[in-house]
């Protein structure tokens, strides 16, 4: 082992080292505190992360380890670790207040493996960008850069996402909503519930529930719309979803629960997702290209 060139063995050893590092971190400083990444911290972290990627790439001539990061021998073990840790996450019930394996998203080994995977992505993306060839690299970049963008922005942007529950009553106007911690948040938009709409199938199961609402913005605008499940409404960067109703009253409910979501990073995440969709299309059309060897 450790005689160059490194193979999968060294790749697995490095990933294992990362997991041990993660365990030590988990023991010493506790779980990853994602809530700390609110703007501008997440913007700064993203900038540093991109810079780190460029730095590692710039120094690849100096250190063998840095060159190694962009190899299959590094990527494959990392993917295997990601699969294994995510399987643990899939088998063990996850809870918001969980720790270690019951809250994988803030479990250091899990986070470090995904970060390492993203760095590997960053390194090969830089290599392909600097040795760009159209036919080879457009599909490559759509898949890899798309995933890189989606992973980084979805993870770092998560702390800026607000999901609020608003309890509206017929003919009253509401501008306050509750966040996940049960705290009241005042909003720049107010909503008046005109009517709660409920339709059921013959057997009584819900067919449709929706809210006919009037929206008022702090700028003095006003609009009437209907929010259905699967058909949210947009206003001033907030997306309004039909979330629930007074189920004890059923169709007679005069309470409608709306969810208001604001996710400023969404366009960036969607850029990544659309790139990956286009990348999958190229994968489908081009299929396998055998290595010239």
């Amino acid at each position: 082992m450790w005689s160059k060139p490194w193979t999968l063995k060294e790749g697995f050893a490095l990933g294992g080292g990362l997991i041990i590092t993660g365990l030590v971190l988990q023991l010493s400083i506790g779980p990853v505190v994602w809530d700390a990444f609110v703007w501008p911290a997440n913007g700064i972290v993203l900038a540093c992360f991109l810079l780190l990627n460029i730095l590692i790439y710039a120094c690849r001539k100096l250190f063998y380890d840095f060159r190694f990061i962009s190899t299959y021998q590094a990527a494959i073990p990392t993917l295997v670790y990601a699969v294994a840790l995510t399987i643990l996450m899939g088998i063990i019930r996850q809870t918001v207040n969980g720790s270690w394996l019951t809250n994988m998203l803030s479990f250091w080994p899990f986070v470090l493996i995904y970060v390492y995977m993203t760095i590997i992505l960053g390194q090969i993306i830089l290599r392909h960008l600097l040795h760009f060839q159209w036919r080879r690299d457009i599909p490559f970049l759509l898949n890899h850069l798309g995933l890189f963008i989606a992973l980084t922005t979805a993870t770092l942007g998560n702390a800026d996402m607000q999901r609020l529950k608003m309890y509206t009553m017929t003919d009253t106007t509401e501008w306050r909503a509750l966040n996940d911690n049960g705290e009241v948040v005042e909003l720049p938009v107010a909503i008046e519930l005109k009517e709660f709409i409920m339709e059921t199938y013959d057997d009584g199961t819900p067919k449709r529930f929706a809210s006919d609402i009037e929206i008022y913005t702090i700028e003095g605008e006003q609009m009437r719309t209907t929010v259905d499940v699967n058909k949210p409404a947009e206003v001033n960067g907030w997306t309004i979803y039909q979330y629930g109703y007074d189920s004890s009253m059923g169709a007679e409910s005069n309470i409608s629960i709306l969810e208001l979501v604001s996710d400023p990073w969404l366009p960036a995440v969607y850029t990544g997702i659309y790139m990956m969709l286009a990348g999958a299309l190229t994968l489908f059309i081009l299929g396998v290209r055998r290595k010239q060897a």
Partner: protein
Amino acid sequence: MIWDYFIIFALAAVLCWCYGAYAAWKDKANNAYVSTSLGLLIFFAFILTIWIVMERPPLRTMGETRLWYSFFLPLAGLIVYSRWKYKWILSFSTLLSIVFICVNLFKPEIHNKTLMPALQSPWFAPHVIVYMFAYALLGAATVLAFYLMFFKKQEIEVKEMVICDNLVYVGLAFMTFGMLFGALWAKEAWGHYWAWDPKETWAAITWFAYLVYIHYRIYRPKDYGLALAMLLVAFVLLQMCWWGINYLPSAQGSSVHTYSV
């Protein structure tokens, strides 16, 4: 009830597929195309009929997704056959399809008209159909891997591995479509594109597992054994994602993906 007619349509389709598979063995390619396509047409006619009768796409229950799977397997087989002329592929796809048809005959599950509001979306059909097609292709890759690993006496040929690769590439492409359509839909329906719901977690696991195969094939193109073993493992993980989580204690009550009632 329309479901009672399933056996007639299924029998007609299976007969067509069996003849198609036989014709492929006998090197009568045209007969194989026509017969397999006819079978697909008959089977799809049934899917279309229940779609119309139920006034919703038949994609909600496990039984309904099996219906699509039984349809897509021979379709995937036909595509592979037309591209690489493998005599045995239609037999395999037909056999697998028969298994799923039998499951549906003996355990039809509930098929009623109700479709809860969360599933009433233009994303519903593409999300599930694309996934079922991906599963069919990856199922075909698994069957091929199984055959190459345990039944083939001679040495594995390069072109056989290339078929595996192609099936996985196209299967993964469709799986990516399915997963990301799901993300875009989740944003519309639940307010977030990815919430690590057990179904999503297992979708990610499956997706990464096939990425391991793809990257390993490029890294060690001549090590067939380990690559084929990866395909088998990946398909087991795919089963967890598809129906296994319905039985997984950790996913009980916490998944928003359970609609089969």
